[in-house]
Structure formats: C-alpha cells, structure tokens
C-alpha cells in the first residue's frame, strides 16, 4: 500500500467516514443523522475497495447505503408522533468516556503489536484482479451449509417482520 493514490484515498475516505459517523452522534435531527449515516457507509465502501475487496464494496453500497437506510427512513416515517430529535439520555457522559476508552485501547493494541503482516512488494503483488469468482466458489463449496442456513435466516426474518407489523383485527371486530 505505497502508491500515492492509495495513501491519499485512505486518508480522504477515513476522514469522510469518521467525520460523518461523528455527525450521526451530533446531529440534532434524526433524518439528518440518517443522511450522515449513509455518507459514512459510502466512505466505508470506498475503504473496502482500497483493501482490494471489490465484491464487498459493491455489496456494502447495495445493502447498507441502499436497503438498510431505506428501511430506517421507513421506520422514522412510520412513527410520526415520536420525537424527531436525535436526543441523548442521561448516560451521554459515561457513554463518551466508555467510547474514548475503547478507542484508545484498540488504537494502543493496534500500534503496539508487532503484526505478522505483508509489506511492500509482496503486498502489491498479491492483489486480486477480481474477488467475485473466488467468493462464489467458496460460498457454493466449503461454506455451502452456512450459505443455506443464512438463506433460511433471511426467510424467517422476512416472515418475522411481516408477522410483527401486520394489523391484527380484534375478536368481534370482524367485518
């Protein structure tokens, strides 16, 4: 990861991701927070691309920035009388202390550990041209069982969401 393009892309994308994640925390209006969340997801997709993960980057844009954010917009719109402000509870100071401690702990471990990582020429040479074929082979080969279980999980999540939200008629109210 030594080409100037990757270095600039990393710092620009990480700036966008962290700044918009902070704005999700700070925004007053819930819908503005949602918009910043989408921006953060897009920055994260760009970071995935710098890690040579093209399939995951595209899936991130489709699933997170596309469908999960639309679901959240629906949830906000379907609760019209609930307050739209992005207010905090009384625990905001302890939460920020916990988050600061967590970030410094993870950062310290990340910097202090001697990671057994690839560097320089070897790292650049191991880039994939595309990861899609490899991921498809693994999903339908070694991880076939997990793939099928995931499909069952999605089916039950779909059914569960429908059953939870449907309007029930009370007994005696039948038309």
């Amino acid at each position: 990861m030594e080409s100037p393009g990757i270095i600039l892309a990393f710092f620009a994308l990480s700036g966008v991701t962290v700044a918009s994640a902070l704005l999700v925390f700070l925004a007053r209006n819930l819908l503005h927070a949602l918009a910043f969340l989408v921006l953060s997801f897009l920055g994260m997709a760009g970071l995935f691309l710098t890690l040579s993960a093209d399939f995951i980057g595209v899936a991130q844009v489709l699933i997170y920035a596309g469908s999960i954010s639309v679901l959240m917009v629906f949830a906000v719109m379907l609760t019209p009388l609930a307050s739209r402000n992005n207010g905090s509870t009384l625990y905001v100071i302890p939460a920020m202390l916990a988050a600061g401690g967590l970030a410094s702990l993870i950062g310290f471990v990340a910097i202090d550990t001697e990671w057994d990582e690839r560097k320089g020429e070897a790292l650049g040479a191991s880039d994939f041209t595309t990861t899609v074929a490899g991921i498809g082979d693994l999903l339908l080969g070694r991880y076939l069982l997990a793939f099928e279980v995931a499909s069952v999980l999605l089916l039950f999540a779909l059914l569960g969401a429908i059953v939870l939200v449907q309007e029930r008629r009370r007994a005696g109210e039948e038309a």
Binding site: Q60, A82, T89, L138, A161
Partner: protein, 118 residues
C-alpha cells in the same frame, strides 16, 4: 534541515486500518449507549458492524494467505458476506419491532418503554 518525506514513504499498514476501525466502533458504541430513539440506537449498531467488517477485511488483505492460489485467500470476505446477511435480517426485525412499539405506546423513546407488557 531534514528532508521532507516523500508521500511514497508514508505507506499504509494494518495498524492504520485497525485504528480507524477502532475509532468508528467507539463512535458506534457511544451512539448505541446514549441515544434515546430506538432507530438511532440501531444506527449505532450498524456502525459497529461496519467497523468489524473493516477489521476482518484488513486482516484478510494483509495476511500472507491473501493471493490467488493461496491457502485460504478469501475466507475473510466470505465471513463478511455472512455478517452483511445477518445485519440485514437484524435491521429488518429490529425496525419492525420499533414500529410495533410505536403502535402500542405512541413513542419509540427507550427511556419511556419500560414495561414488559401493556
């Protein structure tokens, strides 16, 4: 005067990605712990899941197994695919529950949703 380092010398290492992922995870934790609205809490959870995905992909990219024909080159990517799947299912069910709570109580304020039934 010491020479200004060329941009080629500032190479990105695994620690850069891990520090970034830790920062995003911590912001997600703060949002999850401190927000009042159930949808905002879910936003924090999604940010945390995203940070974990970044960690997994970074470890995968910088490991010696990552190359075409390597021993296990794309297992981290497959793991991230499953995390994305479970995150989508979890978001759908959680938002359905938020709408359900709103229908019963006319609020999604987590401070005011404090009964097991009713």
């Amino acid at each position: 005067m010491p020479p200004i380092p060329a941009i080629e010398d500032l190479s990105i290492t695994l620690a850069h990605y891990l520090g970034l992922a830790g920062t995003v995870f911590a912001i997600g934790t703060a949002i999850t712990l401190s927000k009042r609205n159930a949808v905002a809490v879910l936003m924090g959870v999604e940010l945390m899941l995203n940070a974990v995905n970044l960690t997994v992909l970074a470890f995968s990219r910088f490991s010696a197994a990552f190359e075409e024909g390597g021993s296990a080159p794309l297992d981290g990517h497959v793991f991230v695919v499953f995390v994305l799947t479970v995150a989508a299912a979890e978001a759908a069910v959680a938002l359905a529950m938020a709408v359900l709570v709103y229908r019963r109580r006319e609020t999604v304020d987590l401070d005011r949703v404090n009964l097991m039934r009713g």
